[in-house]
Amino acid sequence: MNKFLSRFSKVYYNMIRPRIDPSEYARQKKEKAEAAKKRREEIKRKSRGEDYEEPPSDSNNQSSSSQSEAKQQHSGSGGFDEDAPLNSQYSQQPSQQQSQQKAQSSQIQQFQPFTSFTNPPQNPQGYEFSPAFFEKNRVQSGDTSDSDRPTSCLALSPNQQEGCVGSSDHALYTFQLSSGTGLRRLYSRHGGHSDWVSTVTYLEDGRVLSGGMDGKLCLWRRGGGAQASAEDLIGEQGSISKVSVVPAKSNIAASSGYDGSICVWDLSKVSVRADPCGSREGENNTS
């Protein structure tokens, strides 16, 4: 366990840690050291009682420090021809500084370090697994069902092309596995479930067999377009907890109930009945 923890902590640290160039770190360190040196010198001067020279009002501390450095260098080198070297230095140095600053700013933009989790960057390129990565690889599954009610069960068809979800709005929704788009809504006014759907299975021929909390098994026909029709199998069982097809015999299914009983069904004997109200429902929908 400890081994795993240590390994994972390393991995997570590498994922989360701010991506800063080492040269950037060195630069920040240098600046801090210079500022500290300056502060120490000022304190020494004050303690000696010398006249305190106010620093220039420029917000850029770097330029002032570079000016002071340049002055020191100049004074150290000697006093001949003061104007020419000074001008040359002042003309050259700002351009160099600007170029350096540009390079540093470009590096910062590249790595985009962030300081806290509360204020993350807008485009988190520092993450190895960014939210955009997941968004790109996610299957759009919003169209599988129209309802917002929770789903309770899932089954995949034997040919691995289709899936079926049983929902707590008394309907079942079939969807295509490759695209995630919804195909059919298995719900009808006559027949079908009148309570939560608890289990679903596919038969070998592609029909859907579902069991619900109303104690019914429903065998849904394959065709029929948008209008789904089902055959109800009522077994005087309690609410149905699970349905499965017997492996060796494709036409025989077993269902278990909340009353502690098990029913065995012969699906080949289910009579095919024409829905007497199917035409009326179709008419209503088209108009």
């Binding site: 027949g191 005087e236 699970k242 025989i252 502690g260 009983s261 098990i262 065995v264």
Partner: protein, 200 residues
């Protein structure tokens, strides 16, 4: 001028609900005559379709014979708490595995007489506590097993509910936990497991 023929639905058909079918398709309803069983939550059928093992709400495991349409053993054994998953062995006829919320996995070999061969209280052939040793402080409920799936090469995966860990058991090696294959990736409970059919 063509007039569309209106389809008139008779008044007595408007609220017509077809009567329920006569249930000719039902073969048999098997009930335990001696004792009313608690709610059956899970069951699985052996590959030949002759035997069925079911697990109930309070941990009762019962064996049903579909061929002779009788209950062979109504209370074969008892887990400590709810039986969460029942899985039949895909190749060996008549052997089942059950997982329970109390953190145990039991092996049922229904070819021989069921009983406590290893001195266990449960009447299973073999029983192991998978996640019991790892966190004894949290107790059995935190190490509950929520799902159980077979891998094609006869080892099977156990999924823990509370601990957020996955574990593999080897069915050939007396149900030992394959130590190096313990997987810890989740921070909260795992509810379901699925295995790649190629077994990789």
């Amino acid at each position: 001028m063509a007039v569309e023929k209106a389809r008139i639905i008779p008044l007595n058909m408007r609220n017509y609900v077809p009567p329920p079918l006569q249930h000719t398709s039902k073969v048999v309803k098997i009930v335990n005559e001696r004792k009313q069983l608690p709610p059956i939550l899970n069951f699985d059928i052996s590959p030949s379709g002759s035997k069925l093992l079911s697990g109930t709400n309070n941990g009762l495991v019962s064996l049903w014979d579909l061929g002779s349409e009788k209950v062979v053993k109504a209370a074969a054994g008892k887990h400590q708490s709810q039986c969460s998953q029942v899985v039949a062995h895909p190749t060996e006829e008549g052997s089942f595995f059950t997982a329970s919320v109390d953190g145990t996995v039991a092996f049922w070999d229904t070819r021989g007489p069921l009983g406590s061969a290893n001195g266990n209280e449960v009447g299973a052939t073999d029983i192991t506590k998978v996640f019991g040793k790892r966190d004894p402080r949290t107790g059995a409920t935190n190490s509950s097993i929520s799902d159980l799936k077979f891998v094609p090469n006869s080892t099977y995966v156990v999924c823990s509910g509370g601990g957020g860990t996955l574990c593999m058991l080897d069915t050939r090696m007396n149900m030992n936990v394959v130590g190096d294959l313990e997987m810890e990736g989740h921070t909260k409970s795992v509810t379901s497991v699925c295995v790649d059919p190629t077994g990789r």
